[in-house]
């Protein structure tokens, strides 16, 4: 039953994506993106990835729609005519996609319990992390302790990006205007 739902949702996802490409009114494209993100979240829920669906709800449905609408307020609502022909980019994308699909042929089957990713450190994390770290949630334990330096690096990158955006937006200039 849930597989049928997932397949139907994927079909609607494809329809939404193609419609978003073919539309030329950017406001309508933003509406299609919001539908796309809702559908993607429903797919995540149907595939039992509830935490990813939470992230998609916060980022995809809410913030990115608002950000794209703010951009439309600045740049106007109509797409410019493309200055180049789509033939060469389409060929490059198709070729890259074929190479990527060819690359997956060597990988272990989906959900294979003997795959290296399920044999390497995952059993150790699952069995010992409550004792070693003392956090009942394994995912939190892995993120905050075993991969703590990774998480610190990610946070540094995001913090730097935030500072960059603030510098571009120019908070100092606005303060001078007010005074």
């Amino acid at each position: 039953m849930i597989e049928v739902v997932t397949v139907i949702l994927f079909g609607m996802l494809a329809v939404t994506a193609i419609a978003a490409i073919r539309l030329h009114d950017l406001f309508a494209v933003v509406m299609m993106f919001s539908i796309y993100s809702l559908l993607a979240a429903a797919v995540f829920v149907a595939m039992d990835a509830v935490d990813v669906a939470f992230t998609e709800a916060a980022v995809g449905v809410g913030i990115s729609t608002v950000l794209m609408l703010a951009t439309i307020g600045l740049v106007g609502r109509h797409e410019k005519r493309p200055t180049h022909r789509p033939g060469l980019p389409l060929a490059v994308v198709t070729l890259t996609g074929m190479v990527l699909v060819y690359g997956t042929l060597d990988m272990p089957r989906f959900g294979d319990p003997l795959a290296p990713i399920h044999q390497h450190v995952a059993p150790h994390y699952l069995q010992d992390s409550p004792v070693e770290i003392g956090i009942p949630n394994v995912v939190t334990g892995v993120l905050a302790s075993y991969r703590g330096y990774d998480t610190l690096g990610e946070l540094t990158v995001i913090f730097t990006a935030g500072i960059g955006v603030l510098a571009l937006l120019g908070i100092r200039r606005r303060k001078r205007d007010e005074s």
């Binding site: 939404t16 933003v30 509406m31 429903a42 703010a70 106007g76």
Partner: protein
């Protein structure tokens, strides 16, 4: 019964999607996206009962309702005033201007 509910929800999602793809004016698409967000919330709840962990799924559905409300407010503000930063004194409607 649950199968019937899921079927009806999927059909109405497909109809809303059809309206969003075909919709001649931008207001059709806004309404379609809004209806679609409601249908997604209902679908997530129904999936929760199908899986048997309704309490987690209902939390997600509630969060979607709240976030979808923010997005709807932003969409309506842009379609009314033309951008998000305006206070609302000037009424220039890009949604109307653009319809040729």
């Amino acid at each position: 019964m649950l199968t019937l509910i899921l079927l009806v929800l999927l059909v109405s999602m497909a109809l809303a999607l059809l309206r969003a793809v075909k919709g001649p004016t931008v207001y059709d698409r806004i309404l379609a996206a809004n209806a679609f967000s409601t249908k997604t919330v209902l679908l997530i709840t129904a999936l929760g009962f199908l899986v048997g962990e309704a309490e987690y799924y209902i939390d997600i559905a509630l969060m979607y309702t709240l976030v979808g409300f923010i997005a709807t407010v932003a969409v309506l503000k842009v379609s009314e005033f033309g951008n998000l930063g305006q206070s609302g004194a000037v009424r220039s409607t890009p949604a109307e201007q653009s319809h040729k």
